[in-house]
């Protein structure tokens, strides 16, 4: 069943020709998306922590701070990062052109760009395309979530859409990004739309907490892009819903997208989830979990289904300081099989090898230092990751 947009939203996608030839599965996809929400929409957004963020992020951050954002422009194939004053000027022109066609203020736009770093937008192609965008509601704004998700892709091999309904309202999300930075292509990008009515301040709080527990728990390669953007729009047209219910639905949509992103990680053959429990505080739990999920040696062991639990011990050891944990109180499990301190014999290693051959490998570590936990998601490291990122040339 094709999922539609929530009430009040409309979208348009087009092909401007921004992607490099050979950009993988997305080479012939549309590369420009415009999503419009009605007047009165609440918006919340979080952005990359990179100090090298481009003008798409810096402009959007300013617009969100000022309030009133109700449309998103998503450009795939060119991140417009590290282009100096020209990059900022081009980004401002893009906002002005789109705003004029949508009859909104430029400051009401969220601009997200994903792709090559250090190459200016091809304005000679982008300018006429934007100047002739259809004018909603005259028609031409008929794309659904699947079309937007496809138009956002860079090295993704499939579009990512997730949705949940709650009462009369619906929550629909789209996302892309399978390396934190792909062959010249940057960005984890997610847009969630709902027609539930929610106070902007409440939406902001809900969104930050959700992103922290979902997208921020995803690591493909530990590299942070210069363009990461995750935003939510709430049109309100389906009326109010209990904030707790909305929170659950948004979290489920984002977790669904996060798992889709992990499974489609560059070269990935397996989803890896790492759950750290019995930690002194949430920060300790997340730090250790991220060290495990990002360790190239754990990732290659998972890839090869090598029951090498010593590498998990190594990652726990490197991410905690001497005395912070007691190795004798640590437990390491793969699925429901205890690897440490049990130290499986030959039969146990066979069972471990079997668990690690599945397309979803679960690692659980108990630190024995408290009662907090964190779960993070990632994928294995394959020779295909190296091929994608080394043999593809600029």
């Amino acid at each position: 069943v094709q999922v539609g947009l929530p009430v009040g939203f409309s979208a348009h996608t087009a092909r401007v020709g921004l992607r490099a030839p050979g950009a993988g599965a997305s080479a012939t996809n549309d590369d420009l998306s415009v999503v419009l929400a009605p007047d009165g929409t609440s918006c919340a957004a979080v952005f990359t922590q990179s100090s090298f963020a481009g003008p798409s992020v810096t402009l959007s951050r300013d617009h969100c701070r000022a309030g009133g954002v109700r449309a998103a422009v998503i450009i795939a194939g060119n991140a417009n990062v590290a282009n100096g004053p020209r990059g900022l000027h081009d980004a401002e022109e893009v906002c002005q052109l789109v705003a004029s066609r949508l009859s909104v203020q430029p400051s009401q736009l969220l601009l997200a760009s994903t792709g090559v770093i250090g190459r200016p937008y091809p304005m000679e192609r982008l300018r006429p395309a934007l100047a002739t965008l259809p004018r909603p509601p005259e028609g031409g704004f008929e794309a659904g979530p699947a079309e937007v998700a496809a138009a956002m892709m860079t090295t993704d091999t499939k579009p990512k859409v997730a949705s949940r309904s709650l009462g009369h309202a619906v929550v629909v999300g789209v996302a892309k990004g399978v390396g934190m930075v792909e062959p010249n292509m940057a960005t984890m990008l997610a847009l969630v739309m709902t027609d539930a009515a929610v106070d902007p301040a409440a939406l902001d709080g809900l969104w930050r907490a959700t992103v922290e527990g979902t997208f921020n728990c995803l690591s493909v390669d530990g590299d942070t892009s210069t363009s990461d953007t995750a935003a939510i729009f709430a049109s309100g047209l389906a009326g109010p819903v209990p904030l707790g219910d909305l929170s659950v639905a948004v979290r489920e949509v984002c977790l669904d997208l996060t798992l889709q992103l992990a499974r489609d990680g560059e070269g990935a053959t397996k989803l890896m989830s790492v759950n750290v429990v019995d930690a002194a505080d949430p920060a300790q739990a997340k730090r250790v979990a991220k060290a495990i999920v990002n360790s190239p040696l754990v990732k290659t062991a998972v890839h090869g289904a090598d029951p090498n639990w010593g590498r998990v011990a190594m990652a726990v050891g490197k991410s905690t300081s001497v005395g912070e944990i007691d190795p004798d109180r640590v437990t390491i499990r793969f699925g429901d099989l205890e690897a440490y301190p049990a130290r499986p014999g030959p039969e146990g290693l066979e069972e471990l090898r079997r668990l690690m051959s599945a397309d979803h490998v679960d690692i659980e570590v108990s630190l024995g230092t408290g009662e907090h936990s964190a779960t993070v998601f990632g994928c294995d490291l394959s020779a295909e990751y190296v091929r994608i990122n080394a043999d593809y040339t600029t």
Copy 2:
């Protein structure tokens, strides 16, 4: 020319059968080394920061703190990590057996073990081998640095020895370790020996500073082993030398070993050096340099000679917080070619591709925030790294 040991040192190597079959180039090497220095020797050592360190590290740390250490026992093929009380008991027995043959106290031994994690020493083989060690100076202690370096190897493809002379004295070093943790095999391990006379406190200061600027600037995969150990012995038999000269010679030996380790990194085809200059302080310089040298996307770009300088910008961005640097003041160079902000055109990209095809790729980043710098060393990421670490099973 075969390098000999400094005056006063003697060494013995033997094959006990500790390595797993299929342990690569080192499968048939000796796997036990004992190095003895004369009474009155000064020793300084630094150890892994891992909280999961095994008894080799914890015992050696205690012995070094107590003073008087003048012999090293190096076991290759088994790290004796994560083996609980049995592991500690076995390590103590190894020290007692060796000490008894060398006529020293067990607390005068440095014990270093490198190899499989989570598997106890095969004491039934190790015990008789140690109990029948030759008793120096009766003979049988005739190994040179090359033999010791070969007996230390795990997945290393070649032994690593470096030496420098200064006046009547000589500085000789051996090292191993080509992944921070290899297929079940752990450890960067380095032992430097000199016959120069040097005050123990001065040696300690000199050693810590040297390790910080050499071995601690090496990253193969960002993973920290549970067993890293780097130690220096100074027998004093060649008499005193100026501390400044000794410092230069020791640093040169360690830097030489560091570069040998980087070049022999698992699956490595290229040496990568990253120099961060004009940083606000040394910590900022080293943090950014390590982020670059450890980034899988930078490492794969170097492997594929892809002139993708945007990935270096990405790594600078992710390792600094917003506002900490000004992207407009950052400069990125490959060799002597400026990539950012110059943004090379097609000809520049060709030149960049040529520079990146060399077997040594130099990346220099100026942060424009101050006057400090740091240089770190690493290697490219190849499909061979994945093969070594995924397809090798426990």
